[in-house]
Subunit: 475 residues, 2 copies
């Protein structure tokens, strides 16, 4: 059924207050991968819990135990579970989002303080870390709840919520929670479908529904030799330098065409049929879109379909950086003693961390042996997540298509995404129900990057979309 | 002539006060290559000037103008010139040292605060940034001056002093100063020889005199593409990643045997004759020494002579790090937009920055072209200095040999050093006199590294050596 028209009006009338609430959320630097910011992730959990309670949602903060990061045993921030409605005649929808964010500091190149939501003076974009990934979408649900709570309207479906604070750090602890709560009598018992808002439109124009995600396998390769950093004048050409060895290894992982050089990794993936290729040809997308989003003409190919398939149905390997080497400006003449290269591989079916990790580790070990260095190597698979694909003709997707048409006046692009949200697969496999990815932000939002933003219209129309989707589910 | 015996006693009696003065100097974080620390380098110049004045030295602070670092125009810290004695019957000796230091922060892996001189509780080592490079040696001269000033003793030679605050950042401005003050009527007019204490013994046992230094050419290689950092999930395998390109370039500079891969660079250097090789065979040195100094069995060869020649008569290329890439702990899934690799080449005769730079730049440009990437490259030669060799049979060296025998009871090793002190060559060429390097510290002091130290005995006996050297010059 269509959403009530006063819901749509309510959203427009309360837009400024919604943005104010987003500013409050962005101000909490809930960076899950930095040890000193961990308390802020916990603070963010409590903030969200308070908001949900105030909107009539029954909540629980779930302790997820501890994990070890950077050699420190840390408490995992609690998951925030929510529940409202228990009508057996209604569908029960599970909402998922995350309230942790990627690291950000002004010195990375932000034009504004990343933890102060800044409204762009001319285009109205909402700029701040987490605005689009993933605080904006999570707060979209708060906006929908506020309409129903404030106006004493019954929701068209029963809602279950699962908000976590570790998505950017491998969703530690969440799999166990989903398994436990998915069992009979658990918090997610009786869920009919899942909706996740944690991704982006393919471009800046066309709303999208996403039915596939790449997985990820993140690695660190450590090379160590001397017990401390050395002076390159004193020791240069006397000893094996760990940086020389590490750079050799890193240079053998991926080539400049994007091909993964670890034997067997690219080979796991089937070649696309002509029919499958045609799906990518239909998407509203051009080389100019990616050039606009990245700000430069640097696509690996000049063919739109090849570029889209690179992201949607191919694995990719990115070199992220080196821990322990000189990273400042200026010219420090150091031989770093202990350096750790960081890289990750985005996975597509049938790849999994389990079948890719051994290929990566044994390849690096054998390439390192060829170097004939006296330094020491260790390779570690850090967090990982499997890729995922869903049936995009399911009623869950059909409701989202109708909602998109109602709010935006057009059909959504049906996409597979390049990013990974490992919990998607856990929901699909554990609960045995259809999972929909319903993005709020645009392709140029800059999640994980500097100057992350969410367009005002994506936040406001996106809130309407989330609400309308619930009514369309109730049809 | 031998040094007076009460000088030697004075040094022993005042050892604790000398160490206290070194602690004062170390407490000033005079890091010349970091923009925010520049005022501390200036503060250090004033501190040193005050010390010299109090010891009866006529001084001048010389403004050296400005330079551009990291895009900022900065004042160069003043050089401190000193003068005491003008007796035409005495030799006139120019002393050189530097009061700036390398970067250091506790998070790099220091066991103690780098800017608090810490006396090791069991072995008495003086631990702190600059203790050995080069505040300890500079303060050795203050100790010698204090004996003469406090006891109203005439110095056996006339002294001229030149202390700079930019040695770790290419000695900006100093060449012009030396040329100007070396001219008739200048501060260095009439200098008969130069003594520089800014290097190290070959090992931890045997004092050394040094007659050669490698030069240096420092480079940055920038690769840029997108206008901001990208999410590897969203853009992985769609675009050319700057890190992929940069790592390819960096992997083509040096191999794991230490060989420099830039064509023509290693080839410039002559092969050692059997006679020259025998000089290296005589040095008090073993593979175990370098293993002890670096803490691991990682020498490029198991042959002592090969390893020594690697440092003393071969160029070397070290990869220092990458600016702009992810360098933290944890697992950030970023595609960095703009990355700058840093590396340097240590030079030996006949190499100079002028004849090596074009080889490096054109090689990198041609290797980059082979990558067929759409990203952009820029290569920049940063600071550089030519290599240097002196006549080690000159009376300046003979005086230092006798002083070493008097203080330490043994003949010094005659070495060529792997590091670079560009001003050495300027003194030699501009003043046309013999230049001696008279090291104070040991081979394991960890200059430019974490936990830099100077052994207490090297500071105290080293002070005796400096004073005795002046008396031996007066013979
Ligand atoms: Zn996210
Ligand atoms: Zn994210
Ligand atoms: Zn030095
Ligand atoms: Zn130095």
């Amino acid at each position: 059924m269509p959403a009530p028209s006063d819901f749509l009006q309510f959203v427009d009338q309360n837009a400024d207050a919604f943005i104010q609430r987003l500013a409050e959320a962005v101000a909490i630097p809930s960076i899950s991968c930095e040890v000193p910011r961990r308390p802020d992730v916990v603070k963010m959990a409590h903030w969200l819990d308070g908001q949900l309670k105030a909107l009539g949602v029954e909540t629980q903060l779930r302790d997820l135990g501890t994990h070890v990061m950077d050699g420190v045993e840390l408490g995992i921030p609690p998951a925030v579970l929510g529940r409202i409605g228990n009508d057996p005649k209604k569908k029960t929808v599970l909402l998922y989002g995350h309230f942790d964010v990627q690291p950000a500091s002004k010195s990375d190149g932000w034009n504004t303080d990343p933890f102060t939501l800044t409204i762009h003076p001319t285009n109205g974009q909402l700029i701040g870390r987490g605005s689009s990934d993933d605080k904006g979408p999570v707060l979209g649900w708060l906006n929908v709840l506020q309409y129903h709570h404030q106006n004493k309207k019954e929701l068209p479906v029963n809602l279950r919520m699962c908000f976590e604070g570790m998505e950017e750090t491998g969703s530690e602890g969440l799999d166990d929670l989903v398994v436990k709560e998915g069992a009979k009598g658990g918090w997610f018992d009786g869920v009919d479908c899942v909706c996740i808002s944690d991704n982006y439109w393919l471009n800046t124009r066309t709303p999208a529904l996403t039915y596939g995600l790449r997985g990820i396998a993140y690695y660190k390769v450590n090379v160590s030799g001397p017990t401390r950093d050395l002076h390159s004048g004193v020791f240069g050409r006397m000893v094996h330098e760990p940086m020389t060895d590490l750079i050799q290894i890193m240079s053998k992982l991926v080539d400049t065409t994007g091909q993964i050089l670890v034997p067997g990794v690219d080979d796991m993936v089937s070649v696309a049929s002509e029919e499958e290729k045609s799906l990518y040809e239909q998407l509203d997308y051009s080389i100019a879109d990616v050039e606009e989003s990245v700000g430069a003409p640097i696509t690996l190919s000049d063919d739109k379909t090849t570029v889209l398939m690179g992201r949607m149905r191919s694995p990719s390997l990115s070199l992220h950086g080196i821990e322990g080497a000189f990273y400042g400006s200026g010219g420090k003449t150091v031989i770093p003693a202990n350096v750790t290269g960081k890289f990750s591989i985005r996975l597509v079916p049938p790849q999994t961390p389990e079948n890719v990790n051994p290929l990566v580790v044994s390849y690096i070990e054998s390439e390192f042996a060829k170097l004939k260095t006296k330094n020491k190597l260790s390779v570690e698979a850090m967090h990982g997540g499997r890729p995922w694909i869903a049936d995009h003709k399911h009623w869950n997707f059909e409701a989202a298509k109708r909602a998109t048409e109602a709010v935006y006046g057009r059909s959504p692009d049906l996409t597979r995404e390049g990013g990974s949200i490992p919990v998607t697969l856990t929901f699909a496999e554990t609960l045995g129900v259809n999972v929909l990815l319903l993005p709020m932000g645009r392709g140029d939002d800059g999640a994980h990057s500097t100057n992350e933003k969410l367009d005002r219209s994506n936040f406001i129309e996106g809130t309407k979309l989330l609400g309308t989707y619930l009514y369309e589910l109730a049809q």
